[in-house]
Amino acid sequence: MSELTNSMAEKLLIGGKTYSSRLLVGTGKYKDLEETGKAIEASGAEIVTVAIRRTNIGQNKGEPSLLDVISPDKYTILPNTAGCYDENSAIRTCQLARELLDGHTLVKLEVLGDQKTLYPDIIATLKAAEKLIADGFEVMVYTTDDPVMAKRFEEMGCIAVMPLAAPIGSGLGIRNPYNIRTIVENAKVPILVDAGVGTASDATIAMELGCDGVLMNTAIAEAKNPVLMASAMKKAIEAGREAYLAGRMPRRAYASASSPIDGQFF
């Protein structure tokens, strides 16, 4: 069906590269690397976030590492600056990630402002983004759902803006659909909901609001069955995207019969 072909044809464009999947996933909180690999495979994700941390000196020799399981040849690796509460550590993290990944410039920037909410420090994020962009990075930026800041990040050259749906790891879903839709309406770069999704319908709602994609980690990794939830999320994202493209029916205050009145014999 042409409609289906169309929807399949239209792809997510990030940093000059197109992706069939609009689901981006993290790699934290899994039981082990095997579960990580299975879940990410089931999710169909093509962009996968990773953290940059110290190697364990003198431990687990020869043990497989994350990038053996999630190969940069197969996936677009998206290093994040998770845990950074200031501009400099975020920038150092990106630079090390670039070196680690042979000059790879795509990064997910987050500079946190508060440990309780893990909400971003918008001011520090803005400064870090400026320097990273100047240094040649392609910055996907984690921000609040403030439409004014989202627009500013777009205008300064971030290649994707990633407003939070709810606090990282809270699973509270889209707390403020109004803001997310406003951000989407104003945007010229991809808008990806980042953080807060808890279950499949949350992801579907994000896509129905017109988001270009969703990034999640805990919702999959902390499900009782992560692999099955990963499959659910894959379908939820596609369902939401197709519903957005299909154009939903109008809401009505009252009922409207599905069966005709004409021809009733009773």
Binding site: T27, Y30, R53, L67, T218
Partner: protein, 65 residues
């Protein structure tokens, strides 16, 4: 030679370059190294000479979201 490695003090002998250090630590694969807050490109591992007191960070990618 006294160095600071990933936050811990370490005493090492018979090592001259970054590559020597990696060999001793049996570290390989995808790594990035920062010495005194300066990144050392992988291409320079063989040639970069370590000095006593160097503050060395060796990082890699791990699971995160």
């Amino acid at each position: 030679m006294q160095i600071q490695l990933n936050g811990n003090p370490l005493s090492m002998d018979n090592i001259t370059t970054v590559q020597d250090l990696l060999n001793v630590l049996k570290l390989s694969g995808r790594l990035a190294i920062e010495i005194n807050h300066q990144i050392v490109p992988r291409s320079l591992f063989q040639s970069h000479i370590l000095n006593s007191g160097d503050n060395i960070e060796i990082v890699h990618a791990i699971g995160g979201g």
